[in-house]
C-alpha cells in the first residue's frame, strides 16, 4: 500500500470584497464615478494577485497548512461546518483551482463529483447528455458505449432518452446525472455532498453505490454533512475547522469531536408575544449532543413558551415530529383538562419529555399546533421548525445503519428454539410441529 494522495501544507487564500465607501456629496459622487473604472480594475486584477506577506485585511485563508495522506483503497471522510474549507480542499485536489502554497501529489486517475450533471445541456436529449456528462467526468466514448445500457437502467428514464432534458422533471435529471456518475471507474473518487440532493429513495441509492465503491477497494475522499453516512462508509475521518485540519483518525471519535464543537446555528423558533391573541413565542428541541443532534435512545426534551393576553378556557398544544419528507412520524399533545394552562393571561413554559427517543436516524422537524379543545379556535400552526437530526453512530449492530430503512425502532424481544436436527423435515411433520407450538 502506498499513499494515493499526499497533501503537504496546502493553503489557499481568497480575496474578499471590502466595504465600499458611500459618497455623501454630489462632488464626491461624481469623482467616485470617474474613479470607479480604476478602482474596479484594481479590484478585478487583485482577484488573482496576492501580496507576499498575505496578511492584508481583505484576504481570507480558506485553507491553511493542511497536511494529510490517504492510502490506496482507503475511504476518507472529510467533515466540518459550512465554510470550513472542505469544498476548497476538494476543488484543489480535483485540479479546479490552484493552491496558493503547498502541494498535493495524487497517484492515479481521479474523478471528482462536486455536482451531479455538470455540463448537462437543456437542449440535448437524455442520450446525448449521458455522453456529454460522461466525457466531462473523464470517461472515454468507448467506456460510455460499454456501460450505456447499465446507466440507462440505473436512471430509470428509458422512455425519455430522446427527449431534450429541458422537458425532464428535476428528479429525472438528477437520476440521470447520478446514473452517469455512478458508473465512473476511477482509481480515486472525490465526492462532495452529492448525497444531499434528491429524495430519500435517491439518497439510499447513492449510499448503496458509495458502499460498493468503497468495497471495491477504490480510494475515496468523501465530504458530507450526513454523519451517519460518514461513520458507516469511511475508514478514517478528517475534521476541518477554519481551514485547518484539527483532527484526523477513527470516524467515531472525529464525529464526536465535531458534534461537540459549539455551533452558531440557532435551530429554535421564536416569535414576539402579541396583544392580539395567544401565541407560541418559543419552541426548541433540547438534544443529547447539542447542536440539534440527538442520539437515538436518549431522552429528548421539547420546550415551548406560549403567551396569552386573555384567558383561554380550554387551551391545548400539540406537536408532530415530521421526517425530512414532511411526513408526520408521531404526535404528542397536552390539554388544559389534563394539565391546566392559560387560565390567566401571561407566559407559560411547557416541557415535554420523550424518555427514550426511538426515532430512526435522519432529519426531523416539528409542526406545532396551538388552539382550544374540540370545536374551539385554532390560534397557530407553525410548520417546519426546530430542525434536528437523529444519529445512531454510537449504537453498533452487525449491519450498518442505512438511512430511510424505517421511521422508528421499537424495543423488541426474540425467542429462538431449535426444533430438530434435520433441515429437510417433510412438510406434514414440519407443519405439525409448527401447529403444535
Amino acid at each position: 500500500m502506498s499513499a494515493a494522495i499526499t497533501v503537504e501544507n496546502l493553503s489557499k487564500a481568497y480575496r474578499i470584497g471590502l466595504k465600499e465607501e458611500i459618497p455623501d456629496t454630489l462632488l464626491s459622487a461624481a469623482t467616485s464615478v470617474l474613479r470607479a473604472p480604476l478602482k474596479n480594475f484594481k479590484r478585478l486584477r487583485g482577484l488573482d494577485t496576492y501580496s507576499k506577506n498575505g496578511d492584508a485585511e481583505d484576504i481570507i485563508w480558506a485553507l491553511k497548512d493542511v497536511s494529510f495522506e490517504v492510502q490506496e483503497g482507503e475511504v476518507l471522510g472529510v467533515i466540518g461546518r459550512n465554510g470550513a474549507g472542505k469544498s476548497t480542499l476538494l476543488k484543489i485536489l480535483s485540479r479546479i483551482t490552484k493552491p496558493t502554497s503547498g502541494r498535493a501529489i495524487i497517484r492515479g486517475r481521479v474523478s471528482s463529483l462536486l455536482e451531479v450533471g455538470t455540463g448537462f445541456h437543456p437542449e440535448l436529449s437524455g442520450r446525448e447528455n449521458v455522453y456529454m456528462n460522461g466525457t466531462i467526468l473523464g470517461m472515454t466514448k468507448r467506456e460510455i458505449d460499454r456501460k450505456f445500457d447499465e446507466i440507462v437502467d440505473f436512471s430509470g428514464v428509458e422512455k425519455f432518452l430522446d427527449t431534450p432534458i429541458k422537458r425532464y422533471s428535476s428528479g429525472m435529471k438528477v437520476r440521470l446525472a447520478f446514473a452517469v456518475a455512478a458508473h465512473l471507474e476511477p482509481e480515486i473518487l472525490i465526492i462532495d455532498e452529492v448525497l444531499a440532493v434528491g429524495d430519500a429513495e435517491f439518497q439510499k441509492k447513492c449510499l448503496g453505490k458509495m458502499q460498493d465503491v468503497a468495497d471495491a477497494g477504490r480510494t475515496v475522499l468523501f465530504v458530507s454533512h450526513n454523519m451517519q453516512a460518514v461513520s458507516t462508509l469511511t475508514d478514517r475521518c478528517l475534521l476541518i475547522q477554519h481551514g485547518t485540519n484539527i483532527q484526523d483518525g477513527d470516524p467515531r471519535a472525529v464525529i464526536q469531536k465535531y458534534l461537540e464543537a459549539p455551533s452558531h446555528q440557532q435551530g429554535a423558533y421564536s416569535n414576539n408575544p402579541s396583544k392580539d391573541g395567544p401565541r407560541v413565542i418559543r419552541a426548541d428541541v433540547v438534544t443529547s449532543e447539542g447542536n440539534a443532534i440527538h442520539q437515538h435512545g436518549q431522552p429528548l426534551q421539547l420546550r415551548f413558551l406560549i403567551s396569552t393576553p386573555v384567558v383561554v378556557s380550554s387551551a391545548s398544544l400539540s406537536f408532530q415530529i415530521c421526517d425530512n419528507l414532511g411526513r408526520p412520524i408521531n404526535h404528542i399533545w397536552t390539554f388544559d383538562s389534563e394539565r391546566p394552562m392559560c387560565r390567566t393571561p401571561g407566559v407559560y413554559e411547557l416541557l415535554s419529555v420523550v424518555p427514550r427517543c426511538r426515532l430512526y436516524l435522519g432529519k426531523y422537524t416539528l409542526t406545532v399546533h396551538f388552539g382550544e379543545g374540540p370545536g374551539g379556535r385554532k390560534f397557530e400552526t407553525i410548520e417546519n421548525v426546530c430542525p434536528f437530526e437523529i444519529v445512531m453512530h454510537r449504537i453498533s449492530r452487525e449491519f450498518p445503519w442505512r438511512p430511510g430503512t424505517c421511521a422508528y425502532v421499537e424495543d423488541f424481544e426474540w425467542a429462538i428454539r431449535h426444533l430438530g436436527d434435520s433441515p429437510c423435515l417433510n412438510s406434514q411433520s414440519g407443519e405439525a410441529i409448527l401447529f403444535a407450538t
Partner: protein, 307 residues
Amino acid sequence: MSSALIEPEIDRPQTPDAANIATDVPVPVTVVEPDSAWSFIDFHELYQFRDLFRFLVWRNIKVMYAQSTLGIAWAVIQPLFSMLVFTIIFGKLAKIESDGVPYAVFSFAALVPWTYFANSLTEGTNSLVSNANMISKVYFPRMILPLSAVLSKLVDFSISMVVLAGLMAWFRMTPNWGILALPLLIGLMMLTAAGLGMWLTALAIQYRDVKYAMSFLVQILMYAAPVVYSVSIIPESYQWGELTINPRLLYSFNPMVGVIEGFRSALLGTRAMPWTEIGLGSLTASVIAVTGAMYFRRKEQIFADVA
C-alpha cells in the same frame, strides 16, 4: 449470509470490481501546486481529452440552432443579407471599386471567411464565461472550450462555401489553381480566430468589459479588413513629414487581409495569389496564437476563482 436476506431491499447495482482496473498501466502521478512558470499548450493532455473535445464541438453544433424554425439556414442568411446590404450601399450607391467582378460575388467571397472569423471569435470569447459553471465544478484542459467554439463554426463556414459556389456558378465564374491554397487560407483564418479568441476569452472571464466591447470590436475589425473594399485602394506609399511609409505593407500584417484577398484570388481570379500578405499575416497570426495560448495557460489556474 447475504445482507439482502436481513436488510430491507436497497437497490445496489453491480459495480465492476477493482480487479477491472488495469494494474499494469503505469499510475499517472499528478502534482497540484501553485505554479507561476509560463507554459505552452499541453498537446498530450489535449489528446487525452479528445473525446470531450469532440463532444463539445458536436454539442456546440447541435445546440446552435436548436428550437429555431429555419435552423441551419441561419448560417446562410447572415452573410447573404450582409452581401445584399453591401452590394446596394457600397456597390451601387458608393460605387466602390470591386476589382472587375460583380460587387455581389466580390463581397460575398470576403464575407464567407469574415463571417466565420467574426462568429468564431465572438463564440470563442464567450466560451469561458458561458461555461463558467463547468469550469468551477470539474477539471479538463480549459483550452478545449475556445478551441471547440472555433472548430464548430466550421459547419456554418462550409455551408456558406456551398452558397458561394452557387453564386459563382450564377455569375459563370470558375475558380483557378489558387484553390489549392484554400486549405492554407482556412488554416490561417482558424489560427487567427483561435489565437485572438484565447486572448479575449481569458481576459473576458476576469474583465467582463470584453463582452461589451466585442460587438464593436468585431465591427472595427471588419473595416480593417478588405471586406467591403479592395486592397488596391490602400496606397503603397505615403509621405508623412520626412518619412515615407508603405501603408499597404503595414496593412498586410492583418492576417485577414491575406485570407480575404487569397479567397478572391483563388475563386474570382481578381489578382495573383497575395503571398506577401499571406506570409506577413501568418507571422502576425502565429504571434497572436502563441502569446494567446501562453496568456491563456497562465491565467487558466485562476479561472475557477474569478469566474
